[in-house]
Symmetry: C2
Subunit: 155 residues, 2 copies
DNA sequence: CTTCCATGCGCATCGGCGTTCCCAAGGAAA
DNA sequence: TTTCCTTGGGAACGCCGATGCGCATGGAAG
């Protein structure tokens, strides 16, 4: 992990489908060296995969909900049951157990408010062990540093 | 946007660097037809780009913080100033204005608690108009449906 | 200081992939 | 029915990516 690797990761994070030759030029390396480094980064787990950035809005999903959920108990078994149930729900794209009150934070995508209401009623409301559910809706997303920029220093 | 397009998007979301020929086989199309559809999806904004999934932990970033921030005012100018300042902070990878108390929710990556403390002191604490800052730390991430699965129906 | 070894780059090659033509088939409108 | 438009398949061409080889560099040992 040197400066060149960081540059490669930035480049891959910005455009994962860019030709290796392009990336190589950007970071000042030959194709072959760049290819080998990329393979090494994949093998070492620094790169875990590649994905497409989807246009939610364009796909008809206009609601992003950030949901806080608290459980009645903090027994590991109950947490596990809750997590297993959450993992089955369509629309839940992120879920994390967080400090500070032992609750969960989810990110949920939905087509519209009706769709979210349905999700809330049919799935969230039936999760085991839940005491409170608190939904916030994203009114506006602020562009931030990209993941790679955040990790390797700005801009 | 038919079933085939959805399948292509799922495939691209799962592995953006997969050869088109592989994707074509998966969705039951020829290479040429598949390429055309991918290009169309990119042009229409359904696909906005491709990125690498980075292994934060492996890269030395062990802290994921979810931060709630409330401002003193809701005047649009103040919001804009806040957002402009937030966008400059390294480590902030997501930021959204949400309903319910007119506050912001950020996701922040840091190397460790010391690093986060520094970030908090040097940057978060100096954001304009802030009244309260509430940090939660991710103790455990629960695997959920992928974005594509959430959008096009699970499995 | 010299020698050896390991690491990592660049070059060239070759196999495979992606893009782009062209043509055919199916459906809608006139 | 005819025409047009859309969309898929096939083949060719050019380009890309993976691998092997030779070489340079740097550090350690003698």
């Amino acid at each position: 992990m040197d400066r060149i690797d960081a540059a490669i990761l930035k480049s891959l994070a910005a455009d994962a489908r860019a030709p290796v030759s392009t990336i190589a030029t950007q970071v000042g390396l030959s194709q072959s060296a760049c290819t080998r480094r990329i393979q090494a980064l994949e093998a070492s787990g620094h790169v875990q995969g590649y994905g497409a950035r989807l246009g939610h809005r364009r796909l008809g999903f206009r609601i992003t909900a950030l949901v806080d959920i608290t459980l009645g108990t903090q027994v590991e078994e109950d947490l596990a049951r809750f997590e297993a149930a959450v993992a089955q729900i369509d629309g839940v794209v992120e879920c994390a157990l967080v400090s500070g009150g032992q609750d969960y934070r989810l990110k949920i995508l939905a087509r519209d408010l009706d769709d979210y209401e349905r999700l809330h009623r049919e799935h969230l409301g039936r999760l085991p062990g839940v005491v409170t559910i608190n939904s916030s809706f994203v009114l506006r997303s602020i562009p931030t540093r990209s993941e790679a920029e955040a990790l390797f220093g700005g801009r």
